[in-house]
Symmetry: C2
Amino acid sequence: MNEFEFLAALRHLPIHDGARDFHDDCAVLKLGNEHLILTHDMMAEGTHFRPDAKMGDVAWKLVALNLSDLASKGAEPIGLLLGHSLGDGDAEFLSGLHEVLTAYDVPMLGGDTIAATGASTFGVTAIGRATHVPVPSRAGAKPGDAIYTTGTFGRAMLGFEGRVDFQEAFNRPRPLLDEGRILAPKVSAMMDVSDGLMLDAWRMAKAGGVSFHLNPELIPVAAFDRFDECIRWGDDYELLFTLPAGHSVPIAASQIGKVMEASDSPVYLGGTALSDPESLGYRHG
Amino acid sequence: MNEFEFLAALRHLPIHDGARDFHDDCAVLKLGNEHLILTHDMMAEGTHFRPDAKMGDVAWKLVALNLSDLASKGAEPIGLLLGHSLGDGDAEFLSGLHEVLTAYDVPMLGGDTIAATGASTFGVTAIGRATHVPVPSRAGAKPGDAIYTTGTFGRAMLGFEGRVDFQEAFNRPRPLLDEGRILAPKVSAMMDVSDGLMLDAWRMAKAGGVSFHLNPELIPVAAFDRFDECIRWGDDYELLFTLPAGHSVPIAASQIGKVMEASDSPVYLGGTALSDPESLGYRHG
């Protein structure tokens, strides 16, 4: 099975209401007056990082991409559980882990450490507390809403390719926790952009049953001559969100388009319908 | 680093109070009036299961060993997050997952699916709700308490070796969730026995600052002629617990010894001090 077949099959298992049918970045678990936000992301050698990657960077990124999921819900992190495969770079891994935990003031809650053969695999479960209810979801964008993103796309791609000034963007992404919390009470929909702006915009439009009309001239990219790649490459971990018309934007962000009634395609770029989700972004495996 | 060096190093990271300093099976997170119980366990091909293992059994066991951690806290499962590496046996994996989720009435909350090269690694984060406060811990055994275990040790070992009547014990262990909930209000200490009775008894005695005096004639084993192996092999997932003297035992269990003041060794077996924790149980890597 590929990832999407497997995910489809998972939907036939008993599923918690808070799982949002696996159509969101996180599960939302109501407990008394609290809403817990839960997410689990993995990274594997050879798929998500190179065998020669600095393990301190791997630890940082593994935590950061889980925290980015919490950011997309406006959640405040409570703690992490780590699934760790022992390997040569353990001391560096721990050092990077210490740095990212300190940078975002997140403590460890537990986890498991194993000896594994072959390529290393790591997993993190991040647990957070919603700071605003209802908790933002991917669905919720309404015709007339304005579409925004933070940041600039393609930075991680350039870093991956070796551009010195973008190494940090690829190796040590910064989860937008503060921005997510500020946005949570305002947005009609929000998600983090992990798999490329086009694919994630497609998903958000589909989840809301609407079409996104994007203006390519308004999308900030790190390399103008490689616009198409910048908006399709993943790993930038910016926030994509929609705001009802007339609402002011409480953080630095770019309006890149407008939500319209659903039509032939969930995403239009400069008036052209995008039709093939496979071509829209970065997919692992 | 080996597992124990890595775990020691983890204690220098920022740690949540609920992590119990990584000296317990689970983290305990107080949220309003609820106590959430969190655990994460992994299984890797080549370390925890054979390359020719039935993937339905792997899925069952992966969930079961996480639920066994919840059982040791007397917790009621809320849901699971799965970290899954795609591979040949995915359909069987999903089928085993469906069986174990249904058997224990536990829904999926979310997770991540990745393509990974080489040996497969899987992780589960289990989340439960405490049914009794204070939540039982490994620490808490007091001199004078009686020491009990459920079940019979060595069954998983015999199943691993190919004995047909014990295959189920190795492949599809049964987490003692009902027993854990019944015991939680009564015990002074409780844990699940995943790494062998001797090693886990050692850990529980150390955590409580006491000595466990065990009577070998009272320890139920599946193969009398291989007593020493039966009490050191892991994967039986029974519950080990202590009760204050004079308390009746609310479930089927065997009294295997008595808690005494700390002395030279945390564990005495038939009057002989055990001194080398490395020799006490099963360790991965």
